[in-house]
Symmetry: C2
Subunit: 126 residues, 2 copies
DNA sequence: CGGGATCCGTATGGATACTG
DNA sequence: CAGTATCCATACGGATCCCG
């Protein structure tokens, strides 16, 4: 994963934000968590195609970035719950117009929200 | 670069949008073009650190995605001008809240817009 | 000037097996 | 269940040379 943050500084806020959500599955993770807090296994099912390692890495980074909160319960069947922090909620809101743009301009018919993992069929309209 | 579009389809609009702006320098390019149409050389100067090849690739992809328009003038000193399409303008607008989020949450003090010498004091090309 | 072609290093992500 | 460890593939980005 991103070994370390961009050394110097960001050129702009978008640049900075992109560094946070740059992972391949991050926005999908955020999206799933936007619905409800999730356990690791749930998340894995909600984000089809992601592997444990990558999911784990992404979650760790999102946690470091203050986007998700990780609550660990020291129980016998280990239980961990991930949820969005206020900052994460704000990020998701900021992401909304971008999602609208994507739906409008690149993939008409894309669902608005389907954390269960629905994939639409369709081709590039361009 | 992205050899081909994501095989199946996108899970959501954000997912789709991310595929469009996923390149390392794309948002910076968009940002520069948001100010004014630019020639290749200008762009290269506006996006410090990017190499010709990558800039070229990114521009080509952005063009394929209908984000930028490429106007080629068959003159003796070859001249090409890149500009944002309406779709590109819309994308930039959709990116705005994300930029605001980034400025607020990850890099306080990041400038709002400075496409001229995008280099912020102290910024360091990777 | 505006790139295309080539070669190459690295970061990112994937598969699988294993552990607390 | 919730990860970690290891190995591996490749996409991405960079340097350089070259051409219209």
């Amino acid at each position: 994963m991103r070994a370390v943050r961009r050394p110097g500084a960001y050129v702009c806020g978008i640049d900075a934000a992109m560094d946070v959500i740059g992972g391949k599955w991050k926005v999908l993770i955020l999206w799933a968590l936007d619905e409800k807090p999730c356990r690791f296994g749930e998340l894995r099912r909600s984000v089809p195609g992601v592997t444990e390692k990558v999911l784990s890495s992404h979650l760790k980074e999102l946690e470091e970035d203050g986007i998700v909160h990780r609550e660990e319960y020291a129980e016998v069947p280990p239980r961990v719950e991930y949820s969005l922090t206020p900052r994460g909620v704000a990020l998701n809101e900021a992401l909304d117009p971008l999602g609208a743009w994507g739906r409008e301009h690149v993939q008409p018919g894309t669902p608005t929200h389907s954390p269960e993992g629905v994939a639409v069929a369709g081709s590039d309209p361009l």
